[in-house]
């Protein structure tokens, strides 16, 4: 379906990534956000608090991130499209509710404007060091999706995608910005509502007790209802059967976990969103995501000017990781170079896909600023030799 024009601020804007992310959420149909102030993410909810009363929704500033990350789920079960917005320390507090969202299949978007960590770290400076936390940080095994925008325009465009994916798969979706993307000001073009495709929640058409909240078809994604629709549902964070009732034994756990993880597994090919630039026939491929992809792009241009056959693979969807494509490329590529604003997180996934078919070179960075393109260039030149 098309976006509700009420939430779409059509036009050309000169805004930062945080504000563009807010506009993306409103355009996607988000009508409930809860949050707790934290640098460098706060501008997202500040703008939301100003805009949403005119759009027909609500923002509530809660007492902490624990409250924010579960209040959005209450609102989702009331029928709203929802998000919460935070940065590292807040994300750490939200981890339990990431699991609750995944287990209860509550569609929601977690926006993480990454900053240097661990602990309070570097509140006003960038990092990409929460990549493994969002994947594995909540206890147990759980399905999730993450997207990594690299510009204010993408903060708008991909935010709509984030909401659409949350609705389609009923999983928590992480919007992995960073301080630089959040605070850089660029041109953002917001199209007409009629040009924006939004995914509506998959509502059940069953009535009353005929509806089983966790009965899924071959898509593995059950149809949803909301409180007040007369289904008298029970939703629990305990291991549950198709009725939503707690059933705590190994066979129910096995069946449920496999279906939940299966939602992503059977759609792995569909969930590949990468931008490739000159990877076919390249000797060296730089694998990047988020803000680092812009620096990597500059380094790749410089290397090409030096006559190196270098490609650039940029991940838009970072989780699930595009292992299959990396594995394919590993058959022809000499080396992969993985610059990231952390001490080596996504490079582990590249290594897992490549195994011993090619060399994998990590370019870690503790965060606080972005890489110098020359550092990446140097590694490309070394690898190409």
């Amino acid at each position: 379906m098309k976006a509700d024009p009420k939430g779409v601020l059509t036009g050309i804007h000169f805004i930062d990534g945080d504000q563009a992310a807010c506009e993306g959420a409103l355009a996607a149909g988000c009508r409930f956000a809860a949050g707790y102030p934290i640098t460098p993410s706060t501008e997202v909810v500040e703008r939301f608090a100003g805009r949403v009363p005119l759009v027909g929704g609500v923002f509530i500033q809660l007492e902490d991130e624990l409250a924010s990350s579960i209040a959005i789920q209450g609102a989702a079960w009331a029928g709203k499209k929802v998000m919460t917005v935070t940065s590292g320390p807040g994300l750490s507090l939200m981890m339990e509710h990431v699991g609750f969202a995944a287990f209860t299949e509550t569609p929601c978007v977690f926006v993480d404007v990454q900053r240097g960590g661990p602990s309070t770290g570097l509140p006003t400076a960038p990092a990409q060091a929460d990549m493994m936390q969002v994947r594995w940080g909540s206890h147990g095994d759980y399905p999730m999706i993450a997207l990594s925008p690299n510009s204010p325009q993408e903060c708008f465009d991909l935010m709509i995608e984030a909401f659409n994916l949350a609705e389609e798969y009923r999983v928590p979706v992480f919007f992995m910005m960073d301080e630089v993307v959040g605070h850089m000001i660029e041109r953002v073009e917001i199209p007409e509502a009629s040009e924006i495709e939004v995914t509506e929640r998959k509502w059940t058409d069953k009535k009353g007790k005929d509806y089983l909240p966790y009965e899924a078809d071959e898509s593995l994604v059950p149809a949803m209802t909301k409180a007040g629709d007369g289904h008298r549902i029970h939703i629990t964070g305990l291991t549950h059967d198709e009725r939503g009732y707690p059933v705590m034994n190994a066979s129910t756990q096995d069946k449920l976990l496999k279906r939940l993880l299966g939602k992503i597994e059977i759609n792995r090919d569909k969930l590949v969103d990468i931008r490739e630039d000159g990877v076919e026939g390249a000797d060296v491929v730089v694998v990047s995501f988020g803000i680092t992809s812009r620096v990597a792009g500059a380094a790749v241009e410089m290397a090409r000017a030096n006559g190196v056959k270098v490609g650039h693979l940029r991940m838009i969807i970072t989780w699930p990781f595009p292992s299959k494509r990396i594995k394919e490329l590993a058959q022809t590529v000499k080396a992969f170079i993985v610059p990231e604003l952390n001490m080596g997180q996504m490079v582990i996934e590249v290594e897992r896909a490549v195994v011993s078919d090619a060399e994998v070179i990590s370019i870690p960075h503790a965060g606080g600023t972005v890489h110098e393109p020359e550092v990446i260039l140097e590694k490309i030149m070394e690898a190409a030799r």
Partner: protein, 296 residues
């Protein structure tokens, strides 16, 4: 609780509470002598009398023995994470203001791990009925000390008797701005049912503390007898006083208990305050949120 009709003087009668329970989930998990079931009985009776559309009534629990209440009531019911029933309920209520949302949980869940949410929901006057079954202990994990455990009571984590000063929950709720505050025990089933009915029909943050026995852990460890003995204690030592200052409602180990309805007042709810503020500042461009047919 049995799903079968009872036979009274040769006539089969359906227990009036049964239609409000998920009968396919019975028997419940609570121990013999536990008071939680009694509170659920009162709550179901309050539902029959409150006049609310039960399709528009939702219940939210946290974790623990009382946290299981949501799972037995035939309402839209949410068994959330430990301590977070109130913020989940806040999202549910604000997400759809037409719903009546009830938070039903225990003393550990609501006042220890969830204490921060409790004080803020009362401060905001979030339109929720919050029922706290206070059995002075963490039952599900085996009888540890909670913020309401009386001084001197033995708990697994206070083997020499609790030395921490406990919360006076009605005082806490009152001080934070709750518009309805009552305390009853599971002995006071009529009064508790009436309080729950009033709470269901109250607009704003309504709080009911229910003292309830935990014979398996709290009573056994403190040599207080079985569930009946504790209800006898409630009967003998409770005094009704609706006019008491809530600061005088502290509880001592097996001491006197003041019960009653201590607070019943009106205050703008969070949603009303938001709508009023936005209407006054933004004017006609603002369409009040969650308002159907010019009311609610």
């Amino acid at each position: 609780m049995s799903a079968n009709p009872d036979v009274v003087m040769g006539v089969e009668v359906e227990n009036p509470v049964m239609p409000y329970l998920r009968q396919d989930r019975l028997p419940h998990i609570w121990c013999p002598g536990c008071g939680i079931g009694t509170t659920v009985n009162c709550f179901a009776r309050a539902l029959t009398e409150c006049g609310l559309d039960l399709d528009q009534t939702a219940i939210v629990s946290g974790i623990g023995c009382t946290g299981r209440v949501a799972g037995y009531l035939d309402l839209d019911s949410f068994h959330t994470t430990h301590g977070r029933a109130i913020p989940f309920a806040t999202g549910l209520k604000v997400g759809n203001p037409d719903l009546k949302v009830v938070v039903y949980s225990g003393d550990g869940d609501l006042t220890a791990i969830g204490g921060n949410h409790f004080v803020h929901a009362a401060r905001r006057n979030m339109d929720l009925l919050c029922i706290c079954v206070n059995n002075f202990t963490y039952g599900m994990t085996g009888g540890q000390c909670t913020p309401t455990s009386p001084v001197g009571a033995k708990q697994t984590t206070m083997p020499y008797g609790n030395f921490e000063h406990p919360f006076n929950l009605p005082h806490l709720a009152d001080a934070c701005g709750a518009v309805y505050v009552a305390r009853w025990t599971v002995y006071h089933v009529k009064q508790l049912t009436r309080a729950m009915k009033e709470g269901l029909n109250k607009k704003g943050f309504a709080f009911i503390e229910v003292l309830s026995p935990c014979p398996t852990l709290y009573s056994r460890r403190n040599r207080l007898g079985d569930g009946v003995d504790q209800v006898k204690y409630y009967k003998e030592r409770s005094k009704i006083n609706n006019d008491v200052d809530t600061k005088d409602l502290s509880l001592e180990f097996q001491g006197d208990i003041t019960v009653g309805k201590f607070v019943d007042r009106e205050r703008e709810t969070w949603l009303d305050a938001m709508n009023n503020r936005f209407t006054s500042v933004i004017g006609d461009k603002y369409e009040p949120y969650g308002v159907t047919n010019g009311e609610k």
